[in-house]
């Protein structure tokens, strides 16, 4: 029985992988993403500048004018190539970690609610409903109001703390379905405690679908982070995030449009690729959707 199930699951994933690889848009998106991530990781090493180093000889220099500053500089003479890549790095880092945070909270919340059932379930999910009725970003704004601004940990927790709602709903649904299955019944008959069943039997079975959902939330997390940094509530100067670079660019766009265009282009590229990848992933896992 378990073997047959495992084989069927392996087959499902292999099938999904095959469909994913067959999709040209997804392949392109994946290639561009890999390139961007690599560039963000090692690109700054090839520039003589660091992200907060001032070049007094070249303030607000347009791109391509001199070899040392490929994307130009900002008003303080800081190199935009390095700063933008730092922004990409930070965005990717925060979004992946925030997805993990929301994954952990969502799985714990949803699994406990679904497994406990009854009154507990009702109250826990009602709480999720209420949070749903407020826009995510409002909760993030309240949270960033409370704690020290500019701390990446706070930003991470704040973003992760609101991303878990949908995960919790999905997990609860899955748990409800799982807990009626025979192997849970068997575990109970063998005398395993509810907590033990939750950790050893429910959680591992939830992880697959939920992990896929979590990767789909990454572009959303990038938007959250940049949005907050754009408004001045997220990453603070002198640190660079795509959000605060775009904010500075928007203020300077009359005289120095490249300060807006460089980070905006990279953000757009990042988001489009992630969305294409997400769409491909969803189609691959659930061909019905098409």
């Amino acid at each position: 029985m378990t073997e047959a199930l495992a084989a069927a699951r392996g087959g499902l994933w292999r099938e999904a992988g095959r469909r994913l690889a067959a999709n040209a848009a997804t392949r392109l998106a994946l290639a561009v993403l890999a390139l961007l991530a690599l560039l963000a990781l090692i690109g700054p090493l090839f520039s003589p500048w660091s992200f907060d180093q001032l070049d007094w000889q070249h303030l607000a220099l347009p791109p391509g004018r001199i070899a040392a500053h490929w994307f130009g500089t900002d008003r303080l003479g800081r190199d935009l190539f390095v700063r933008t890549l730092y922004g990409v790095r930070l965005s990717l880092l925060i979004s992946v970690l925030a997805s993990l945070v929301s994954l952990v909270i969502g799985v714990a919340w949803g699994a406990v609610a679904g497994f406990a059932g009854g009154r507990t379930d009702e109250w826990m999910m009602r709480f999720v409903d209420v949070l749903y009725s407020l826009p995510y970003l409002f909760i993030v704004i309240i949270l960033t109001t409370l704690f020290r601004r500019g701390s990446i940990t706070v930003l991470l927790i704040a973003i992760g703390a609101v991303g878990w709602l949908t995960t919790a709903r999905i997990v609860r649904g899955q748990t409800l379905a799982l807990k009626r299955r025979e192997f849970i019944e068997a575990a109970r008959a063998l005398g395993l405690s509810p907590a033990g069943i939750l950790v050893h039997h429910i959680a591992p079975n939830l992880l697959g679908p939920v992990a896929v959902y979590a990767t789909l939330t990454i572009p959303q997390m990038i938007i959250f982070e940049s949005f907050l940094s754009f408004l001045g509530l997220g990453v603070q100067e002198p640190h660079a995030s795509l959000g605060n670079l775009i904010n500075v660019g928007a203020q300077e766009m009359q005289s120095a449009p490249w300060m807006l265009l460089v980070p905006a282009t990279l953000l757009v590229l990042l988001l489009i690729c992630l969305n294409l990848l997400g769409d491909g992933l969803r189609d691959a896992l659930d061909p019905h959707e098409r």
């Binding site: 409903d129 309240i142 409370l146 949005f227 509530l233 009359q254 807006l260 489009i272």
Partner: protein, 307 residues
Amino acid sequence: MLRYALRRIGGLIPTLLVIISVSFCIVRLAPGGPFDQEQTLSPAVRANLDRLYGLDQPLSAQYGRYLRGLLHGDFGPSLSQRDFTVTELIAQGLPVSVTVGLLAILLALLIGIPAGIGAATWRNRGADHSLTALAALAVALPSFVTGPLFALVFALSLHWLPVAGWERGAPRYLVLPVLTLALPVAAHVARLTRGSLLEVLRSPWIRSARARGLGGARVLWRHALRPALLPAVSYLGPALAYVVTGSLVVETVFGLPGTGRYLVQGAIDRDYPLVMGMIVVYGALLLLFNLLADLLYGWLDPRVRHD
């Protein structure tokens, strides 16, 4: 229909109470107070300030006071803009934000629904593919990218429209903010309309309408359109949430004197009464709008009312 409406309205009040309580608790439990940034205050002055704003009382008393104030439309004093109460700031800003937001939703429907119908009618042809690609792009781009880019292109390069400002709602100043807010919503509406129309057109009653000899246009307008619009209607609630969030950016980018800008500034200044007041007002607005969207849905689809 009336009973359905009453039941839905009754459900609003507890939700609103929870929103108020949660935001009150989070805000009051926060480390750091609004007067931390001032020059060092003597303990006597500090105590007086705390007494003036009721910060010396126990939390439960503060909560009761806040709730009583809310019932009278009093959101308390603003801590960062000393000459104004939060109520005054909201009264100043809300008309601006509501005007821009509702215009954006209206524009989004006016663009999105016809685009969705068009894409569904010309399914898998050039027009459909380009509309779908355009919608994917519009959904992916956040407003803090499109807003500045629109300003750069249409105001600074082409000089068609003003870069920023409000000028008591002169239409020229409204175009770019409304467009920025409407674009992603329009794209969502177009996608939803396209998908549901395609589904409806495959359904048995459409087939039987065709079998009775009705032409394509008549089937579309008389039979397919109304059920096909339901997903777009149920998207109205999330759409407003999207527009409200976007308004924080758009009001900052285009310098509009709306409530979104106060919320951002209040968060930066740690102006607790202002932030809470805005959250409560926005929460109430969103709940109300969701209710209206649900009622509209119930009116369009009688099945919903009876479960």
